[in-house]
């Protein structure tokens, strides 16, 4: 699985980070540091928690690519 974070949508709620800090690091201002980095590979064992983190985002800024 891959995922992609849309910089235009990320508003710094940081709920993805709260759910899965090792997958969703924050930048210095508290926004998702993966924003606009293109698709990121997610290891199979991390897929569930990555999905959970994406599900918390009220901006739907995290797109999962199966």
């Amino acid at each position: 699985m891959k995922l992609e974070v849309d910089k235009a949508l990320c508003s710094g709620h940081a709920l993805c980070w709260r759910e899965a800090p090792h997958i969703f690091p924050l930048d210095e201002e508290g926004y998702n540091a993966l924003a606009d980095q293109g698709p990121i590979d997610i290891a199979p064992e991390s897929e569930d928690v990555a999905r959970q983190g994406a599900g918390w985002c009220p901006e739907k800024a995290i797109r999962l690519i199966d």
């Binding site: 949508l9 710094g12 210095e28 985002c57």
Partner: protein, 431 residues
């Protein structure tokens, strides 16, 4: 696209609405998701999650700007009826909004908030110490208003010993109606607060410190420093946004936890459970129920034509109960997961203090659950007469089995900052 208006009488400040805010919103969501209210000169009210989120994200079309020109209803900011004062950066649009937020963004990021948790717990313990041998308390004035007030003052760098005037003033501003003696007292208190803030701003110009006030004093937008009035508008927002909202959420949570010993036990034992409960209380009891926007062009929203210059109220409270997004939307599901509610706002105006609010909440509620495990709310508990500004509780008297004083000292803001810089290896930890 409809050009007909479904006209309703919807007054979000009325006592009738305050008695059951979610009821009227559910009717609108079902029958008229983009309705025209004839109150306050007329405004649209959006109640479905999809429409509320779309408008909140599109800040170019749905403007937050407040030009303070009360003659002209256009661009009159984020509340209906419009405020005679401006909040910054809440009532700015992009790109200015982003430039303003950047001045404080790093200071408001989640790790900075987490570093304060022990300090917030200590402040909660200090206030609990003052009443724990009595066996009774009025939660709002004795605990859940003072601690968020102190946390907000410490963040700004204002003297925390002044908490009482800030705590009472911002609680009363939210809890009272215009034209009442209580509101007049709150307005007098506001003047006192503003004078004290102005003196501190002057001090920071000469003696910069590591605090938010100094960030604002030294802040620049496109190379130009902030004028005095804009610093004050920023401070007003942080005080107004930081003090009574967290209090309101804690109030709703205490009411919900009355007579639920098993839930209390699970929240006490499991920090993750407490977090999920907090998010569900945010969803069902949004402290800020709605915000307003002004349409900058003719636009379609939810199939309805909205004309340029018309005002639109976006109901977070209603979006949070939209059955299209949330299962069992009307029920409090204490372990709901995930919970993409809108209570901290959506889009570029997301509550800049959200991370601090969540940490304050967890710190205060966990100390209540640990030290006052059997509290019972008395019949005198009373919610606000109006939920148009903040959806909160005026007073929550309670009784409990008296417990031991821990002897926690009152920390000054400087001591709190010291504590933060020492984190995560802070000194003392209370059980």
């Amino acid at each position: 696209m409809s050009e007909q208006r479904c006209v309703v009488h919807f007054d979000h400040h009325s006592a009738e609405h305050a008695a059951n805010p979610l009821h009227a919103l559910a009717d609108l969501r079902r029958d008229a998701p983009i309705a025209w209210s004839d109150a306050y000169g007329g405004f649209w009210i959006a109640t479905r999650y999809e429409d509320v989120v779309r408008a909140a994200r599109d800040s170019e079309t749905f403007s937050s700007f407040n030009d303070l020109n009360m003659e002209d209803v256009a661009f009159s900011g984020v509340v209906i009826p419009p405020n005679p004062v401006r909040f910054l950066p809440l009532e700015l649009d992009q790109p200015l909004l982003g430039k303003h937020r950047k001045m404080l963004a790093a200071r408001m990021a989640p790790p900075r908030a987490r570093n304060m948790q022990q300090t917030y717990e200590d402040w909660a313990d200090y206030f609990i110490d003052q009443f724990i041998t009595d066996g009774h308390v009025e939660f709002i004035s004795q605990l859940v208003s003072p601690v968020p007030a102190i946390a907000t003052l410490a963040f700004l760098g204002l003297p925390v010993d002044d908490f009482q005037v800030y705590s009472e003033t911002f609680h009363d501003l939210a809890a009272t109606l215009p034209g009442t003696p209580e509101r007049d007292r709150a307005l007098a208190g506001l003047q006192v607060c503003q004078q004290r803030v102005a003196a501190e701003v002057a001090d920071r110009r000469r003696h910069p410190r590591d605090d938010a006030l100094t960030d604002l004093v030294n802040g620049e937008i496109d190379g130009v420093g902030l004028p005095e009035d804009e610093i004050m508008d920023w401070v007003s927002l942080i005080l107004g946004g930081g003090i009574d909202t967290t209090t309101a959420l804690l109030g709703h949570s205490l009411i919900q936890l009355d007579q639920r010993p098993e839930l209390r036990q699970s929240l006490r034992d499991d920090p993750k459970a407490l977090e999920l409960f907090m998010e569900e209380m945010l969803r069902i009891a949004a402290p800020t129920q709605a915000v307003a926007r002004t349409a900058t062009r003719d636009v379609e929203l939810g199939g309805q034509l909205i004309r340029r210059g018309e005002r639109v109220l976006l109901s977070w409270a209603s979006a949070n109960c939209d059955e299209a997004v949330f299962d069992e939307a009307d029920n409090i599901v204490t372990d709901r997961k995930p919970n993409p509610h809108t209570s901290f706002g959506i889009g570029p105006h997301r509550c800049i203090g959200s991370h601090f609010a969540r940490i304050e909440y967890v710190a205060i509620l966990s100390r209540i659950l640990t030290r006052l495990p059997d509290f019972r709310i008395d019949t005198g508990a009373r919610s606000y007469d109006s939920v148009g500004v903040v959806n909160g509780w005026a007073q929550i008297p309670a009784t409990f089995t008296p417990g031991p004083v821990l002897g926690v000292p009152f920390r000054s803001a400087a001591e709190a900052a010291q504590n933060e810089s020492l984190c995560p290896a802070h000194g003392r930890s209370l059980q």
